[in-house]
Structures are given as C-alpha cells and as structure tokens.
C-alpha cells in the first residue's frame, strides 16, 4: 500500500469512531448475548478443572479412598466436555455477527465511495482506499469480533482466579498478584513502541510498494533508457530501510517475549518455594499447591495478551478513524430532485469558472457558451487551456466554482444525477476498461441495451474487431483479460458513449490514437450520431473540428471566440496558430516543390 498521508493523529483511546460502528452489530444482539454468556460459563469450566484436581489429590489420594476417584474423574471429564462444547458454540455463533459486520461496512464503504466525486478520487489513491476496505476493516473485525470479547474474558478470568488464589492462601495469592504488575506494565510499554515501529515498517513498505508499482508500470520507459540499475538502486535503498526497521522490530519483540516468559517461571519457582514450605508446615494441602500452580499457569496467557489486546484495540481505533474519515466525507456533488421529461439538449455555460481547491489561478473563468439542441461545438485550445475541465462540468464530474451550467434551462445541480448522466455521455481521451466482458464494458450503465443497439454502437465506433476476439463480446478485456491497443480502447470508449444514446455527447479528444483511415471512418459514422444529438467535441485537428457546426476557442481558461471554422481561421491568429493549417500547408507545398 502507498504511504498514507491521511491518518488523523488523534489522542490515544479516542474510541469515538469505533463506537459508531456498533450500529452494524445491532441485528445480532441476541446472538451476542449468547456469545457472552457462553464465554463466561466457559471461563468457569476452565477454572473448575484445577479445582477438581485439588479435590482428587487432597481427597481420594490423601485418604487412600479409591471409591471417591471415579466420580471426581468423571466430573473432570464432564467439565472438560462442557468447556469444549461451549467453545464450539461460541465460535460458531461468532461467525455471523463478525463477518456480517465486516461485509456490511465494506458494502457501505463501496457505496459511499462511488458517490464521492472526482475531486475526492483525484486526491486519494486507490491503494489508500483499498487498504481501508481490506486491512483496516480486518483490524476492526478482529477487535470487535474477538479482541473485545477476549479483553473482558481475560479481565474476568484474572479477577476470579486472583480472588480464588487469595482466598486459598493469601501470601501466595499476593505473590501472584504482584508478579502480574511488571508483566502488564511491560506489555503496555512494549505495545506502544511496537505499534510505532510496526507503523514505520508499514510506511516504509508502502514506499517500497510505490517503487515496485513504478517499476512495473514504467517498464517500457526504464527499458527504453536502460535504467535497470538506476531503478534497482532506488529500490534497494528502500528495501534496506525496511530491512533495518524490521530488524529493530525483531530485536524489540525478542526482548519482550523473553521477558514475558521469565516472569511466570520465576513466580512459579517462588510459589513452589513458599508453597512447599507451607505444605510442610501444614498451612496448605498438597492438592491446593498443585491446583495453585495449575491456576497460576492459566493466568500467564490472559495477562500477557492483555497488552496485545489493548494494542489491537488501539489499532482498531486508528483504523476506525481512517475509515470514518472517508465515510464522513460528504459528497460534494449531490444530485438535485429535478427531472427533464423530454430533454432537448440545450446546453448553456453561464459565466462558468473553476478553480482547484488551493490553486492560485482558476482553470476556467467567465465561460459563456450556448449550444442549441442538435448543434455540435468543437472546443479548440492549447494544451492546458482547460478543455477537459470544461467537459467534465457537464455530467457534473466536477462542479463549477462560479456561474452555472444549464441543460434546457435547468441548472445541472438541480437535476437528479441519474437523469443528468443519462442525458450526457462522455467518451474520454484515456478510456477506462474494466476487467469484464466486452459486452459489460460497453453497456456499463445501460443494462437494457438490446443486441441491435449494441451492434449499431460497435459499427458507429468502427469497433468491429470485438467480433474477432476469442470469445466475441464475451471476451474478458482489461487488466485481467485481453489487452487491447490504444486505438481499440478509444473505439470501445466511443461505442460506450454512443450506446447510451445521450442527448448530449461529449467527445474529449477521443480520436487521438486512431490512424488516419480509421479516424476518417469513425468521423463519418459520428456525423450521423451528432446530427441528432447536441455535441461537444474537444479537437486538436482540423479534421475533427469539421464534425462541428461551430467552434469555440478556449484561451487561458475562457472562451474568446465562437464562430465558424473558416471565420475563425480568417479572423483569429491564435486559432490559425492552433490548427496550424496555413503554416502546415506552406510547409507541405514547400516540401512538394522541393
């Protein structure tokens, strides 16, 4: 996972976010009550076993009464069976709430993320979001499902056994109690340091992962420049860093775990010493001493794991914070309530401006543009002039920071998102394909498209190559499937946009990766589509501009000229410069004459 820059550093034990997840457990209240009961009874059974052993040693064995042995032996077996059964019941009962919680939160997270706008997704890498949906969620699941239960069980067990020991022979009980102090104290201290160092390892692994990602995605560039060693050295530095920190981590836990084992053993030696003396002096029975040592050893794990569980709790809280940070992000783009019964596709930009948050200069300002129904406008502008931003405003992938965009007189912000986005379709320059069948990739949001419509869209986009794929329209494409060329991908993106039969079709430089012949075919087909629909076409080339009825020149974030292609060519030097027709022609004829 990439390093996370979004972790809110909150004070320890801010259980707020975690507490809010409790509502996900509400459907399972009865089950939870049962689980807790089973856990408590289970503890009782676990404690009973050493006590039975005591009875055996002090009763039948001490009094040489072989008749008393059988019932106690059977009792021990009975208690053992009950304990095991309770564990089984509890663990089976836990499955539903624990996984239900995780699954429901993940569903909700996904749902929420799909609603969050482009602005949010531009700032968050998908890896960061994924780590919330997987790692963080597992941490929360582990704590709410097991950790919390164990926490209470351990404390309960600790208290009961301590009381029992004190009751049996208070000096020894006190000794055991005293021995737990250094364990708890060290555990807590250790866990704090351990979490810090674990997080550091995680961060460094994240850096390493970023380098891995780049080395894989940029493999062509690396190979083209022969920079294998350079990339390797960068990776190696980061790997060595991970190595160093992991070693620190290993040393830390080596110290801790050794300490964790030595304390109970020393206590055991002391218990034996004092206990044996007490047995010798008759203050304690032999059976009680055996029970004592067994009970004491039963405490080692609950005490030691206390630190671990508290650490788990802390991690779960951090995870919950990280999760809630996303869940609490209010979608900046919410749909309105308006609908358009019969959209005509009259698109207007009214004094539109857009500025990225925190940016000094706006990307767009004072954009006025009126596109009548059925009309097609080409947007021409230099690299970085804001063309893509302008097109993203129409389906509300982003919202303007000034002015408004209207369709048939409705502010797009007043329309239902589904209405709006069924009126507008965009074919992007960099088409996104999903690891799904061609069919699913084309229909995307329009699941009701018929085979005929599908075929027409494929035809329009000149994407007939899909029929030649190994499984035709059912072939899986995308990262996990068959890889396609840039031109093929663009044609699919185009087919996708055409298929959704929009009133307003936005083509964001969709034809850039096509060769001249295919481009001509696609343009011819697009002419038919654009005859009925309102069109916005981002264009770099004169040939694409010719798809449009008029041209808007975007310069420095605003539309400076609107007019016919030949008018602008004749009157606007900047436009001439951009489409470069005259100059190119000069060059060409020059070349021809040479």
């Amino acid at each position: 996972m990439p390093p996370d820059t979004h972790i809110p550093r909150r004070p320890l034990l801010s259980s707020n976010s975690l507490w809010r997840m409790k509502s996900y457990l509400r459907p399972y209240v009865t089950r939870l009550v049962f689980i807790w009961l089973a856990a408590i009874v289970g503890i009782g059974a676990g404690i009973a076993l050493p006590l039975i052993i005591e009875r055996v040693i002090d009763g039948p064995i001490a009094h040489r009464d072989s008749g008393g042995l059988l019932p106690l032996g059977l009792l021990a077996i009975g208690v053992g069976v009950v304990e095991a059964l309770l564990i089984l019941l509890r663990r089976w009962a836990q499955v539903k709430p624990v996984l239900g919680l995780e699954t429901a939160i993940r569903d909700d997270l996904y749902k929420h993320l799909q609603r969050l706008p482009m602005g949010f997704h531009g700032e968050w890498q998908s890896g960061q979001l994924l780590s919330r949906a997987t790692t963080d969620l597992s941490t929360i699941r582990r704590f709410l499902g097991f950790g919390m239960l164990f926490l209470v069980m351990n404390i309960l067990q600790l208290a009961t056994v301590t009381v029992l020991l004190l009751n049996k022979y208070w000096p020894l009980g006190l000794l055991v109690l005293a021995s737990s102090v250094p364990i708890i104290w060290t555990s807590l201290r250790f866990e704090k340091r351990y979490i810090r160092i674990s997080r550091q390892v995680q961060d460094e692994q994240g850096d390493l992962a970023t380098l891995v990602e780049e080395s894989a995605l940029g493999i062509r560039t690396i190979k083209a420049f022969g920079r294998r060693h350079y990339v390797y050295d960068r990776y190696d530095d980061a790997a060595l860093k991970v190595y160093g920190t992991s070693m620190d981590k290993a040393r830390l836990s080596a110290k801790f775990f050794a300490f964790l084992e030595v304390i109970p053993n020393i206590t055991l030696a002391l218990v034996l010493l004092l206990g044996a003396l007490a047995v010798g002096s008759g203050a304690l029975t032999l059976g009680a001493l055996v029970a004592f040592t067994t009970l004491m050893l039963q405490l080692v794990w609950p005490i030691a794991s206390l630190g671990y569980i508290l650490a788990m709790g802390q991690e779960a809280m951090t995870s919950a914070d990280r999760l809630m940070e996303v869940m609490d992000t209010v979608p900046a783009i919410e749909g309105g309530t308006g609908t358009i019964d019969k959209p005509r596709g009259h698109l207007r930009f009214e004094g539109v401006g857009f500025r990225f948050p925190g940016a000094d200069r706006p990307v767009l300002h004072d954009v006025w543009l009126d596109v009548s129904p059925g009309e097609t406008v080409a947007i021409v502008g230099a690299t970085g002039a804001g063309k893509t931003t302008l097109t993203a405003l129409v389906p509300r992938l982003i919202d303007p920071t000034d002015g408004r965009v209207t369709i048939d007189g409705h502010d797009v912000r007043d329309l239902e998102l589904t209405t709006l986005r069924s009126v507008v379709a965009t074919a992007f320059e960099e088409p996104t394909l999903f690891s799904m069948s061609v069919r699913e990739n084309l229909t995307l949001g329009r699941l009701d498209a018929t085979e005929e419509e599908l075929a027409d869209a494929i035809q329009t986009a000149q994407a007939m190559f899909v029929y030649d794929l190994p499984w035709g329209l059912d072939t899986r494409i995308g990262e996990q499937g068959l890889s396609l060329s840039g031109g093929q991908r663009q044609r699919l993106a185009l087919a996708r946009a055409v298929l959704s039969e929009p009133r307003i079709l936005v083509l964001d430089d969709t034809l850039s990766a096509l060769d001249v012949e295919t481009e001509a075919l696609v343009e011819e087909a697009l002419r038919h589509v654009l005859r009925d629909a309102t069109g916005i076409v981002v264009a770099h080339r004169a040939s694409t501009v010719l798809l449009a009825d008029k041209v808007a020149l975007l310069r420095d974030g605003t539309i400076t000229h609107v007019g016919q292609h030949h008018e602008l060519l004749a009157q606007v030097p900047e436009y001439r410069e951009l489409l470069a027709q005259d100059a190119d022609l000069d060059d060409a004829s020059e070349g021809a004459l040479r």
Binding site: G73, E102, E213, E440
Partner: protein, 623 residues
Amino acid sequence: MTTTSTSPGTSPGKSPGTTSWRGVASEDQDELPEKVSILLRERSRRLLGDLLRPYRKQIALLVAIIVVSNAAGLAIPFLVSVGIDQGIPPIARGSGPSTLLTVVGVILAAAVTQALTRQAFLRLSGKIGQSILLELRRRVFDHFQRLSLSFHEKYTSGRVISRLTSDIEAIAELLQSGFDALVKAVLTMVGTAVLLLILDVHLGLVALIPLPLLVLFTRWFRRQSVLVYRRTRETVALVIVHFVESMTGIRAVQAFRRESRNQEIFRQLNDDYRGANASGMRLGATFMTGIKLIGNLTIGGVLFYGGSLVLQGEVTPGVLAAFLLYLRQFYEPMQEVSQFYNTLQSAGAALEKLSGVLEEEPSVPEPRKPQPLPQGRARGKVCFEGVRFAYVEEMPILPRLDLKIPAGQSVALVGATGAGKTTLAKLISRFYDPTEGRVLLDGVDLRTLDEPTLRQAVVMVTQENFLFSGTVADNIRFGRPDATDRQVREAAKAIGAHEFISGLPDGYDTEVGKRGGRMSAGQRQLVAFARAFLADPAVLILDEATSSLDVPSERLVQRALRTILADRTALIIAHRLSTVEIADRVLVMDRGEIVEDGPPARLIAASGRFAGLHQAWLDSLSS
C-alpha cells in the same frame, strides 16, 4: 454488419446474479496449483535451499539454541514435581528446606537460561529471516527488470506488483510470526511426549493414547483448510480487483451511471468472500474445539488413571502434578498451529509463484561476451538483414525485411495499424529479437551489445510516457542521471517544455503527482521528450510520440526536432503527416513489407500510396 454476435448464454440485463459479467478469458495463470501442500514443489524447494545456503552455520547455531531453550523450558514442570516429591517430605520431617532450595535454585537457573536462549533465538531467527527476505526482494525485483518486454506485456503490471508486494509479505508474515510458533509447537510436543514417557512409562503411554486420533484429526483439518484457503484467496482477489477498478475508473463509473450495477456486483463478490471466510472460521472453530476436547478428555483420563496409580503407590503425587502441567503444554501449541496453517499455506503459494518468476528466462538475453562498437561510440548506422519476426509462427508480422539506414538519416514510417511499424521500432531498440536474420548497429549485431552500450545508443519515446514519482527535474534527469541542473533546463528549453515547467508551482522542483498528476497528456509528453533529448542517443525512435500534443506544441517539438535530429539517426512513426514532413526519407509499410521508399517530396510527386495519403491530408486541412 448486423448482429453476428455469437454469445453463448446470457444476454445483458438478464441474470445479474451470475458471473457472466466477468466474461471469458484464457486460464488464470495466478490460480493456485491443484495440490497446494506443505511439501513444496521442486523449484520452490530449490529456491528455498538457495536462499538458506549462506546461513548454514547460523541455522545450525539456531537449532542448538532452540534445543537448549526448549529443554530448559520443559524441565520446569519436571523440577516442580521433584520439588513436591523430594522437597516437601524433608520439611515435613523437620530436616530443613535444603533440598527444596536446591530445586528452586535449579528452576530459577532454568528459567533464566530459557529466557536468554529464547531471546537469542528470536534475534538470530529474525536476522536470518530478514536477510532472506531482503535477498528475495532483490532477486525478484532485479529479475523482473531483466525480463524482456514481451514477458511484461503478457504478465501485466498488476501481477508484477502483487508478486513483489503481497507475495513477499506473505513470506515475511511466515518468517515473522509463523516460523517461531511452528518450531516452538513441534519441539514442545516432541519434548513433552519424550518427557512423559521418561517420567512414567505406564502413565505416559496412557496419556499418549489420543495421539493417533490427533494425527488423523489434524490431517482432516489440513485437507479442508486447503480447500477453504483457496476459496478465500479467490474470492478476496475478485473483491480487490473490482474495488480497485471501480475506484481508478470512477470517472467512467459516474459518467455512465454504473453505480448501481457495480454495487450489485460488489455485493455479490463481497458475499462470496463472506461465505468463504465463514467456512474458514467454522473450520477453525471445529478444529480448536476438537483439540481442546481431546486435551480435556486426556487430562480427565490421566487424573483418574494417574490417581489410582498414586493410590497403588506406583506413581508419586508430584509426578501426577507434573503430568497435568505437561499435558496443558502439549495441547496449547496445537491450537496455535491451526491459525498458523493459513500463513504457511499462503507463504508456500507465494514461494511457488516467486520461484516460477525466477525461472523465467529473458527472451532478449544479455550477451555473454559483449562486443564493443567500432570507435567506442555509436554513429547510428542501422541495418536489417533478412529479418523475419513473428509472435505466432504462422502469422509473421515482418516476413522478410532488408533495410539500411545510414548514420544521421531521419526516416519516417507510414502505414496502417498492424503494418509492422511499431514492431520495426521495437526490433531496433531490441525490445524483441528477430525470429530470423539480424539487426545491426554500426555493423554490430544488437544481440552482442551489452545493455548500457545499446541503451545509450538507442532510445525510444512512445505515446505512453511514464512519469516517476519525484520532481519534474528528476524525471527529465532519468534520461541521464548524472546531468546537472543546467543541462536539465537546457534539454527542456530545446524541446520547448521550459515555459510550461516554469509555470508550475515549484518550477522544475514540482513534485509530479499521482502518475503525472495535473499535467495534461501533452505536457507529460513534453517532459518525456526532454528526457529523451537529455539522453542524447545516436538513434532516436519516436513511436507516435507527438500524437497527444496539440498543434502548437507539436510544431514546437517539430521545430526542435529539426535541430535535434540533425546529427543523429531517427525513426519516426506518426499518423499525422505533418510530423513526417521533417524526415529525410519516408518508408511506407504494408503488411510487414516496405512498399514505398524515398524522400517525401519524391513520393508526393509520384502517384503511390504516400501521395494519396498526402492528398487526403491536404484535403482535410483545406475543407
């Protein structure tokens, strides 16, 4: 063209619950092998042996330490029993606690020994584990970088990334937590069994009666767990892919109202994953309960039988106490093993995949005995001699190509998609080797040049230009890591990128955001050009490199190209004929063959394909 689609089964809109949306693909290469077992396949074992070999001595030491540590740990309950049997009677008789004190002293010594050796073990095993991990990381990374582009195109970046992240982490997980637990569990169990028999053969045998049952039960669990584990991995993989693709493709998702369909699919995948997880949890619960039950029954049985042996005077109370303590120790680690089994499995599967990668041979290997270029520096003469190239033998992309490009010539390649232009470029940059014939640079076969020499001489700029994390300057410097700041700036100026870079918030020191961040495709392309210019190769290949530039930028680049290309060989592939204009020579390709060859002016004047293309282009400009 009408509906010729031959879709087997579902039509869209129907049966949303099924998995038809995924479509069909050839066999998933990442699927776990049919029989995942603890016993690794040979190549994995070889890799493991290879990784462990340098640490033979340390591992021997480690074994010694762990044996001492466990012996000390196991001795403690035994010593307690001695204390009870031998220490208490003298006190009761009033002859003082000297025996008891000795025993207690020995227990303390054993406890300290155990603690110290355990710490030593954890440190040493940590060190060995981390060193192995580092070595594995280095090897796999380096190997991926060595493997040819053809491999990467098939293998896909996503899988490269998961090999180097999640798979390595699975092994790290095993080394960190699992390994220690396993060693401890095995040694404790063996040690305890031996001790029980030594303490009292009779009672010991009784205590070990459930052992065969335990073995059978564990085997059952292992089998089940393999199945459950595979299902969990498969389901979670689908959840992750769907999640990541939805997020990276959120623009298309929202623009095309894909949300509800996506949610439907996600819910289904998430539910499948829940189901797999539930089987896993239930299996674990059953196993742990079973172990606990066997353990408790044994303790009860030993208590009963041992008690009667004590009554008969055959066993002392201390021995009985020791037995009860040992039996606890015997069954506890078993419970941990069940949790640890998944770690072991995923590490095994990961090792399997990694060893598979390491076995791949680069299809474009480095020469064993590299040859130098004549005069030590490339001049840029490129020759194709009888070159044939085919991905699939029956369908050659280039059937037979002979071509001479003199040093310093700029050649434009023109032709429809699939004519073989990019293949030609890839052969010159040796991303691929020809199936037959050879490609020569200054008379030397590319296959005999070592990588640094070749890459210094030949650089290719494509349409997809990757920007690495770091500053803009870092990215330009990628072309020549030892370049000074001034050289970086000059490269940018020469290519016409200086102006926009200066306009960025921190100029050349602006951090390139998420894969190129807010730079437009054209701006990224300019950076890539500056990078190539800085590298200063004798042969420069531009494969559709200017197609994402707008016309002014393209013209800027073209002007710069005239100077840049003046003293070097260039191969330019472009759909736009304006780019072709600057070439000295045009090659028109069709189905892998050169059908026209000559200076642009001459071809335009003639009446071949290029003239036709050119005329069409002129028409498109003037209409």
